[in-house]
Symmetry: D3
Subunit: 291 residues, 6 copies
């Protein structure tokens, strides 16, 4: 699968105009629906200002276009300049993005723009840590899950890619993943896979979750195309790789820590999926300085 890093500008498409506008609007409406008492009171209309966003710690930069668009959503005359590319590793103190325009717009949109950019950069930074833990040249993918923040899935999945990770399925209609309850309801691994193959679009691979090596054997016999090894120990993961012999993609999930990544990758699993990339990434510490 993956491995050699392709040029970032090719793999990482920025989230599209429609999505950017929706997210910026969501953040602004929540914060500004009754105006901005402090700015209205203290800043005269027509004042010009310029601001820049600065990294307050080391981070993997993400969300620049969205940051700029949030200000421009409030006032289309604000100009935006990106000093870093999406996915750049930046040091604490480095300037990420600049905006200039009406001082009221800059002050009123600052928090909304930062909230979005800090989430995006936080996820990218978290992802990069896991990706960097992979052995050099590894073909193993670091992958997100559906454990995302409601309303922000598109942004968080984008940030995972910016951080060098990959995406799992976007939603319940985009791909098949048969878990324990599906298997039981269908009457077993083989029956569940057969039903899913029959029901799902022919474009989807069939993934199934197994909890031990016996179930893995059943899943391989039933020609699952991906098998998720749920909460396997490192040793069992190694046994699973040996047992699978490449007949299916193997995905490791559950209880993943940074420390386990090298051994799991060395074992030869194809995919390591990690909910914490999105559900528990701390916000990146970015300041906005205005002159």
């Amino acid at each position: 699968m993956a491995g050699e890093s392709p040029p970032a500008n090719r793999r990482v498409k920025t989230v599209d105009n429609l999505a950017i506008e929706q997210l910026a609007r969501l953040a602004l409406e929540e914060d500004l629906r009754s105006g901005d008492l402090s700015t209205e009171a203290s800043v005269a209309g027509g004042t010009h200002a310029a601001g820049h966003a600065v990294a307050k710690s080391d981070m993997t930069c993400c969300g620049g276009a969205l940051f700029g668009a949030t200000f421009r959503c409030l006032d289309p005359r604000v100009s935006f300049e990106g000093l870093t590319a999406e996915g750049d590793s930046v040091r604490s103190g480095q300037v990420l993005w600049k905006v200039s325009g009406d001082a009221r717009a800059l002050l009123s949109a600052e928090r909304a723009a930062l909230n979005l950019a800090q989430i995006a950069t936080g996820v990218a930074t978290q992802t990069r840590r896991y990706v960097d833990a992979l052995p050099r040249g590894s073909k193993t993918r670091i992958v997100d899950t559906r454990k995302t923040t409601p309303g922000l899935r598109l942004l968080q999945r984008y940030a995972v890619r910016v951080g060098g990770g990959h995406n799992h399925r976007d939603n319940l209609g985009a791909a098949v993943l048969l878990k324990e309850n599906h298997i039981r309801a269908a009457g077993g691994i083989e029956a569940a896979i057969r039903a899913a193959r029959q029901h799902a679009p022919h474009t989807s691979k069939i993934e199934i979750e197994v909890t031990d090596l016996d179930e893995l054997a059943s899943a391989l016999d039933a020609r699952a195309e991906i098998v998720m090894l749920d909460n396997f120990s490192d040793e069992d993961v190694e046994r699973a790789v040996t047992q699978a012999k490449g007949r299916a993609l193997l995905e490791v999930s559950g209880g993943i820590t940074l420390e386990r990544i090298p051994r799991l990758a060395a074992a030869g699993v194809d995919v390591i999926s990690i909910g914490a990339l999105t559900h528990s990434a701390p916000a990146a510490d970015i300041s906005f300085l205005l002159r």
Copy 2:
């Protein structure tokens, strides 16, 4: 101000029906807009099931009504039972909530319901840690900020209250907080406060941010009702309390850690505001087990 814990059922109102429905819908639409391939394929219509949510670590329970409502938003016949009250401290292994009804609805809404509940409980748990660091009987408030996740501010603020914290202003139109740029634009601390008092509703106190003790003196002279001590050292906070002599509420902000809480509270500040309550609270680890 605060201090002695009032009965939880009085202070902590659950987010209202309208908000619950909106959040549940948001989460479900993102995950289910193209159906649920795995469940449709493997679970026959009309199958009944029951599931329960279990804490996988110690946590402060939050979001039960929202958890239940997410399933019922997909199928109104699902029944919900809360085994814990909002704000309860629960141990790893404890059952939080039960749902029962159509197996398809339970499986399809599971992730959306959990994502919401894990965020709410994560924020409540994070808040409780800071609140518990206060000296017994302290009157100091632990307070959130506007550093919330776009779209989830209402839920996160509710979770802060459930965790024993208090809320800062909800949005830029709800109260005045004059920061450095406002002050500079208005022509100084006294001018900024005068302008804000003139502009703002008479129901708002005027809060102003200061960066040293001289500015604090100016703010007190100008009769600010709340002064935010921005990035003050513990020593300077203590000096500020002495200097203020109760003429204004004092809020400490910036660089707050759990370790600093006891000394800051002992110093007698009224409010400690902490962005990390909402922007960097890890999701609570809650499992959903289905039978």
Copy 3:
């Protein structure tokens, strides 16, 4: 509090781009969702026209940017020119605003644009009448209420400020106002104030409604920061001011007429709140003439 009129351009921020666009869209969609039969039939595409809005009576001008934006929402090439500033007192016959562009866009958006501008100017004009009834140099504020038209609160509150008035709290979550039923439920004035202080953000003053001078005494003892004198006679208002001795802001509400304003202001109340500023302001009479 208020009094000497600050420069209008400082206090009165125009409603922001997001809000303007939403209001324009709301009005246009209601009127144009099935097209415009008359204009489509009679006006050839590509015809150019220019129109101007004229005051048909004396009024306080408000809503110019929104008026222009409504046409531009239908056709972004329409140009807009404001001949009056927000808050200007204009005479019958005076031209307020000019638009020019595609004749079809001007004709189709005319009614929607006028409906919005007439409401805004109506509220500003109504407010100005009350403000002008204040004695010269008075520090008393004329203030709106939550008795606004659903969907138009932001616009109406803006118009109140344009007319020289001030705003009360924006919504039920922005500030505390304890009324009779809250007091009874909490177990009395003192208990209600204590509960509110405990629950509300520290940025909110606590306001409480009283119906006689005894209740006022209780409210002052409980350190309410604002007391609303509900349906007090002029004499009782005067007694209340004497009794309060500046310990709380006093707000008069209920049964306010233009005639009572001078005496109430002379008595020294801080705030006079008037539902009729928004709920019963007649639309301003503005004509749109097209060439």
Copy 4:
């Protein structure tokens, strides 16, 4: 045309479920999007209460279902009882509607529910005054215009009917009304009517606005089905009726006052359209008393 009053329950359909729900939600979201600080602080969950809406002056009752639905939108368990029928003339002091249920829901939704009901009843009451000014047995209709509050057209048109009036076209796509600018663009009265007849659905009558008796003659010659006499004096209206000889419906518009109604009706015009029914109806004075 109209005249003898048909049974109210036949002519006046209540606005439908979809519309009621949308309006209630609009009003509630504006007021409650950050919660209700006062009620949350002072009223314990689970408290039961009952409230009733009382007329504080004479009025024509309108909006009962919407009033009740607003509370139920916040809490579906609230019960509603209507003591008056839509369109009933009620005296000051009379109870209109009762609700009972959770005290928090009643307190939090009170203002939103009242704002809507006061607008509806205000329009119905205003309309009834004009309708009552018609001579007994008159066939003349009192009719609204498109000068409505953005977002509330459906409700205001309903209230006009409840007050005994009739509706003009709902929007620009529902019927043809050729005004001065359409006529000039089309090249004259006859050309405008021909173009409109060609363009419009065959279900629409063609209405055209004239400013003098000569234009009326042209409009009749061109077989306009309705002619709007714009700002005609009473005398000219009488001449117009004589001239038209029933060849077209005649609608009088512009500068209508209550005093002119009897003479205009006696002259035999078919329709009197009045913007003030909706754009300048004062809110009805309704109180909500809670126990």
Copy 5:
């Protein structure tokens, strides 16, 4: 009524900006809400491309502005050129519209833009076939119905006009059409017409559906302004025209085929309404070629 074809640019107004934007957004969001995996993977950002839409069969061109706007909704820098006017008859192989700009935007929006344009052109083409079946110089109108695709009524009605047809009422509130159930509920044809005339705006003609010549007689006696002859044979239509003697417009509906059009038109009916114009028009076959 109709007949001699008026210049297309006068009768056929393009759907307005608001509607175009809404439709484009609807189509794009459905297709692109999780990004575009294929384009993101294979096309580098910044690649320029140009595409043109080509008719793959003979058709009546419709929807050009909407086609272009869909691409521009994704990327405002895309340029659009229309090589055909709305309503032009084009031959298979002819180029209709050109777009150029960012290759990713062109590829990602292609399907959404085509889906809309193919529906619009399909309806226009279908309509033109019926219109062309009218005898030369006929005054009979080909008219649509409310049997439209939910969400697309505005577009489909526009396409009917582009194809040379006319529109029936837009929705249930725009005009009166009394069908069998209304008549029965009202107590007969005469009572139903009287009730409708009383209730409806004076701008609406009253249309009523009849199933035989006796009912036609009753409808004419009650002065219906339009009578719909429901499922009449050609012979009965001819008798109806004779019987009506121009006292009402006659509309034929039900079981209309292309073959019947000449005879029905020759019989002198005013309107032929055909659900199949919108509910069963096959999509036009248009290709999009990209370089």
Copy 6:
């Protein structure tokens, strides 16, 4: 792949509550936003009625739950009874569904409910015709495309499954399909497949479009998992199957007619995708009879 028909109740999940409500609302709002003049005028409130939907030709029944929900969306007290199961083949004259309740609700929602049900049944019926053309026991799938009606993709894809067909990818983010322009931009078939595999979630198979047998060879060499044979003749399809030897799923697309289905299936292709299932399915002829 497919072939032996699995029990319908297992494969065909009805569209979920959220989707049904959204579609019903969309259709009702378009038709009823200004009320229903005819019904309001002629039907007294409180009248009870019952109606049933009858097939006017042979069809494959689809959309029953949505049909009922549309009435209930207007009035929740309407009851619904389904006399046919989704996917049933019904004869002309057969009753499909029954509703009963308030006569006004039945009359006002009738058209909206029928429009939706006729589209759903139309697509299911069209699909069934293609599925029935497959040889008995064939493993070939009849599959839809993204050529759906904007706003109705979810419903149309459901209807395809109800008709016995299968779905292709739901949207551009759900799966990879590399077309000519992607291939050219990426620098050839092999490069495009490599880039897609690198970018796409590991759950997606990679599909690529080829225009001749040479390209097919390249695609197979590059290990495409699905190859779309674009506009291949029947002979070339047969050669492609021989050449592929099961190394990839083969999908035939372009110029598919009912007549070609048996030979294509016999050739052994896995998938036949047909835009006409959704973009050109005529509405099913269903009548609604009311008593």
